[in-house]
């Protein structure tokens, strides 16, 4: 029997609005505990919520990016359960009338395209954060009331790789739309996973488990590997599974039961009487859509079509919004030399980013400097080897490539008569190697070439050196 896992994801995304969803407090989760709070987000007696329009806008924009249908009428509901870090002991969320319905996201796994369908996106509030100290618990309500979007997929995913690819693609979209800071360490994106296994051709779903507490996409991947294995073993050996919520322990690398369906909460949803229905006009939605930047897929196609980049380059470059933006600025500074810009960004720049772990904005090499450097190579002022040295200097301390070349005296020598001098002296000094070459030993030419470059201190134009060597040895 072949068992197929079926996976659905519920992803919570903190929106990057300036203020909280129901009050004017700043969204500043990193600040000292309980410094960005007020009667509203602390659930004081008599305090009332007022919906932050910006949060609605960003949720709608996410819906538009994922091809959802935007509900022109939606509402908020109260979801009741007691938890110390939830100030009102009910969460204001959207139960049966979410802002966005339907939609989909294209993912690619092992070179294969796949469509993941989105069920819904709704807008709700985040809760506070509990810290358990020795003998005491502390609660920080700075996070309480941070606008939170929940993106729910259909059960379309069938492997941990697909789940990982979905999350990666989703993050890219969220970054493109500037709707979230997407900082995983800060908990900007948190994901709950529903997974079950069943016989591949049965068209039935198995008994599902909901897994919580994964803090990274890698964690989701690992939790799924573990859980699919656990469920598969249970099904194969005939151990009955129960519908339950399980908790992922990242240190131990395993899931354990939190609660079964029997003790599931009854959330007692009902429409929040403090909030009016959300009514949007089609025009408003259109205006918000028009503010969105070009999405990754469209940008990738444009890179291939207009910049004539290979498919591979285009895909790598658009994978990260900031890299793609950086690349486009380099192209502009390099007078449209797209392929050369792509080569530089994909090799030197991305290596630098992966080593430093930073973002392009942190680089001392500005796109303008890199563009200038590329132009210097194209105008044959620099050869490639020297250009790499200039790049290293730019990485260390920034600056202007032209100035560096001038200061270091690295301008490439393309003047044939000067190079002729270097070539002549090398030929004179290495008679035996010259002899080898003439006897058909091709490696000898490489050696002579290297000698000329050494004598010229690396500045000779290699193309001219090679031409002259061949000519004078002939």
């Amino acid at each position: 029997m072949t068992l197929l896992p079926t996976i659905g994801l519920e992803t919570h995304v903190q929106l990057n609005t300036r203020s909280k969803i129901w009050c004017g407090c700043a969204v500043e989760t990193a600040a000292n505990p309980n410094t960005h709070v007020c009667p509203v987000c602390m659930g004081y007696p008599g305090a009332l919520p007022v919906l932050n329009k910006e949060a609605v806008k960003k949720t709608v924009q996410t819906g538009l990016m994922l091809g959802c249908t935007i509900a022109l009428k939606s509402k908020h509901d109260r979801k009741s359960y007691f938890y110390p870090d939830m100030p009102k002991n009910y969460q204001i969320t959207q139960y049966d009338q979410p802002l966005c319905l339907g939609g989909s996201l294209e993912i690619e796994v092992s070179g294969r395209q796949k469509t993941v369908h989105i069920n819904r996106i709704h807008l709700e509030e985040d809760v506070g954060k509990s810290t358990h100290l020795r003998g005491a618990s502390g609660i920080d309500y700075n996070r309480a009331g941070t606008p939170l979007m929940e993106i729910v997929t259909e059960p379309d995913l069938h492997s941990e790789e697909e789940a990982f690819a979905y999350l990666t693609a989703l993050k890219r979209i969220l970054e493109y739309g500037n709707v979230s800071h997407c900082n995983l360490e800060e908990g900007n994106i948190r994901c709950d996973v529903n997974v079950s296994v069943a016989e591949a051709d049965s068209h039935m779903l198995g008994v599902k488990a909901e897994i919580k507490n994964m803090n990274t996409f890698r964690g989701v991947h690992r939790a799924l590997v573990y859980e699919i294995k656990r469920q598969t073993r249970a099904v194969e050996t005939g151990i009955p599974l129960v519908q339950e919520t399980r908790r992922w322990d990242d240190d131990q690398g395993m899931t354990s039961s939190m609660r079964t369906k029997e003790d599931a909460h009854d959330y007692r949803y009902f429409p929040d009487p403090d909030l009016a229905e959300i009514a949007l006009s089609a025009e408003q939605v259109e205006v918000w859509g028009a503010e969105l930047p070009e999405l990754p897929e469209r940008r990738r196609q444009r890179f291939i079509r207009d910049l004539e980049l290979p498919d591979y380059d285009a895909a790598v470059l658009v994978a990260d919004l900031h890299v793609a933006n950086y690349f486009e600025q380099v192209v502009a500074a390099a007078a449209g030399s797209a392929k050369a810009s792509s080569n530089w960004v994909m090799t030197e720049v991305m290596r630098e980013l992966s080593e430093s772990g930073g973002s392009p904005a942190d680089l001392k090499v500005t796109p303008k400097a890199l563009g200038t450097l590329i132009l210097l190579v194209e105008k044959k002022v620099l050869n490639h080897a020297k250009a790499k040295e200039v790049f290293s200097l730019l990485v260390k301390s920034g600056g202007d490539p032209e100035q560096i070349v001038k200061n270091e005296g690295w301008a490439q020598v393309s003047d044939s008569s000067a190079i002729e001098g270097f070539v002549k002296s090398v030929i004179d000094e290495n008679p035996s190697v010259v002899e080898d070459y003439r006897n058909g030993k091709h490696a000898a030419l490489q050696f002579l070439m290297g000698q000329v470059m050494r004598v010229s201190k690396g500045k000779a134009n290699p193309k001219i050196v090679l031409e002259l060597l061949k000519e004078m040895l002939a």
Binding site: P39, M42, G43, Y44, P45, G46, A47, L48, P49, V50, L51, R78, S80, F82, P84, P87, K88, N89, Y90, S130, S137, I139, Y141, D266, R268, Y269, F270, P273, D274, L275, A276
Partner: protein, 488 residues
């Protein structure tokens, strides 16, 4: 004690404007009266006279530089569920013991802006759940007309304080009659504005879709002036309305001419005590003699009002009261872990009636029961609103008793919550429909207890009910009758 405490806003304003008295003197007079009569009444939970005197001085100096205003320098007693910055706000519950409010409610901010002085916290049924003020965790309030009787509720402290002249005017809140019924029981004027007319920001929520801040006063004109100050849009309350606030005083022309008064027999057939029915019918006849016209209307869905209310209000309350858990403010029972702390705190510090309503609300919202109770109640609510819409196509105002009885003896209905709930039958419909309502004194029972006439209007027709109420009051004159229990 000077006589100032015995007066209403209209008279005091004249004295303040002519310089015959100061705001400080009014506070001093009211405070003396409180000390004199409140040991018998227990209308007040807390009185901070020092800060009130400072605010009175500020009001006096505002006046000295030429400022005028209907409530400038007038003290206003505040029901204990409205937040006043720096003051306690216990909602008459043990669970909020020790809580000091960090902010002003929307209506309180408007009072301050107008130079009125929030003075004293008045008693109520715990979290406004009750109709007799016997459900306060801080002792019962007594009816100034007969100390063995309840003042009504839940704004019983607000009504008793005004009736006993230990407040010039007070703010209450009305979710199902909590302003109008105690006004009727205590023989004062009670105004429940339309839903959305006064900001709910800072009003500790009982049932959010029904709650409205109201006024208890010695005359209709005082109620009109106070509403004019506290009404208006508040950006912090999404449900507060943007409609401009009219000059309510202008609508008080003393005439009843041309007013079409609707009478729905259903309001007299719901266990209304014959004595009450008779006084109310007398009052309506009196209005006719003043030039009003009677129109017979029907209210077929009145019989569902109490059931609908006791599903929807507890449902909303069960969520609204979830925040009282001992974690962030108020009283707390310490425990090993936060969840046990919350459970023990709520167990120990909520009163029985509050627990009963939380349980009711939790039950009707539970999965499997939601459609049968909550959803059905919403449908019935729409029908009741429809009844009102039809009624007000035919008449300008609807007149009825406020409550089926006069103030009952203390303890008489404590053990029978259902009887108590049925006492709200005449007042609840207006909350369900979002309209406005007024309770005006219209006489006394043979036992000497006050009876109120209810004047209902559609949403945002406060001018209409105030005009009718004022014309009736001016000719009938019951407002000038004060309790004689405390005559010096």
């Amino acid at each position: 004690m000077s006589e100032l405490a015995l007066k209403g806003i209209q008279e005091l304003r004249g004295l303040l404007e002519s310089g015959a008295c100061s705001s400080r003197e009014i506070i001093e007079s009211v405070y003396a009266r409180i000390q004199e009569v409140d040991p018998k009444i227990n209308a007040y939970l807390k009185v901070d006279v020092e800060s009130a005197l400072l605010e009175a001085d500020a009001a006096d100096s505002r006046r000295s530089v030429g400022e005028k205003g209907p409530l400038l320098g007038i003290p206003v007693a505040i029901k204990d569920l409205l937040n006043v910055k720096g003051q306690s706000c216990s909602c008459a519950s043990k669970i909020l013991e020790g809580y000091i409010s960090p902010y002003d409610a929307g209506c309180v901010a408007k009072l301050r802006e107008a130079g009125a002085i929030p003075f004293g916290r008045v008693n109520m049924d715990e979290f406004a759940m009750g109709a007799s003020t016997e459900r306060s965790a801080y002792g019962i309030t007594r009816n100034p007309w007969n100390l063995d009787h309840v003042p009504g509720g839940s704004s019983g402290g607000s009504a008793a304080a005004v009736a006993a002249d230990e407040a010039i005017v007070s703010l209450g809140s009305d979710t199902g009659g909590s302003v109008r019924q105690p006004a009727s029981f205590c023989g004062c004027v009670g105004l429940k504005p339309s839903y959305g007319r006064v900001s709910r920001f800072g009003l500790t929520a009982f049932a959010s879709s029904l709650d409205q801040v109201g006024v208890l006063s010695k005359s209709v004109a005082d109620a009109a002036d106070t509403l004019g100050v506290v009404a208006g849009h508040d950006s912090r309350d999404t449900t507060s309305d943007r409609a401009a606030v009219p000059d309510y005083g202008k609508s008080l022309d003393g005439s009843m001419k041309g007013t079409k008064i609707g009478i729905a027999e259903e309001f007299f057939g719901v266990g209304v005590n014959p004595e009450v029915a008779e006084r109310v019918r007398d009052a309506i006849d009196f209005c006719v003699s003043l030039g009003a016209e009677l129109v017979s209307v029907s209210f077929p869905h009145l019989k569902y009002a109490v059931s609908v209310y006791y599903i929807l209000a507890p449902a909303e309350a069960s969520a609204n009261l979830s925040r009282f858990d001992g974690i962030r403010y108020g009283n707390r029972v310490e425990a090993e872990d936060p969840v046990t702390l919350m459970c023990k705190t709520r167990e120990a510090h909520f009163g029985d009636e509050v627990k009963r309503r939380i349980l009711l609300g939790t039950y009707v919202l539970s999965s499997g029961y939601y459609d049968a109770y909550y959803v059905k109640a919403l449908k019935a609510r729409a029908l009741i609103k429809q009844d009102f819409d039809k009624v007000f196509e035919k008449c300008d105002v609807l007149m009825s008793p406020v409550a089926p009885t006069t103030a009952y003896r203390i303890g008489a209905e404590l053990d029978d919550p259902l009887a108590l709930y049925l006492g709200d039958i005449c007042t609840i419909p207006s909350n369900l429909a979002g309209g406005c309502g007024l309770s005006v004194p219209c006489g006394f029972s043979d036992a000497g207890l006050p009876i109120g006439l209810q004047i209902l209007g559609p949403a945002f027709a406060e001018e209409r009910i105030l005009r009718a109420g004022f014309a009736y009051e001016q000719s009938a004159g019951f407002q000038s009758q004060r309790t004689s229990l405390f005559n010096v």
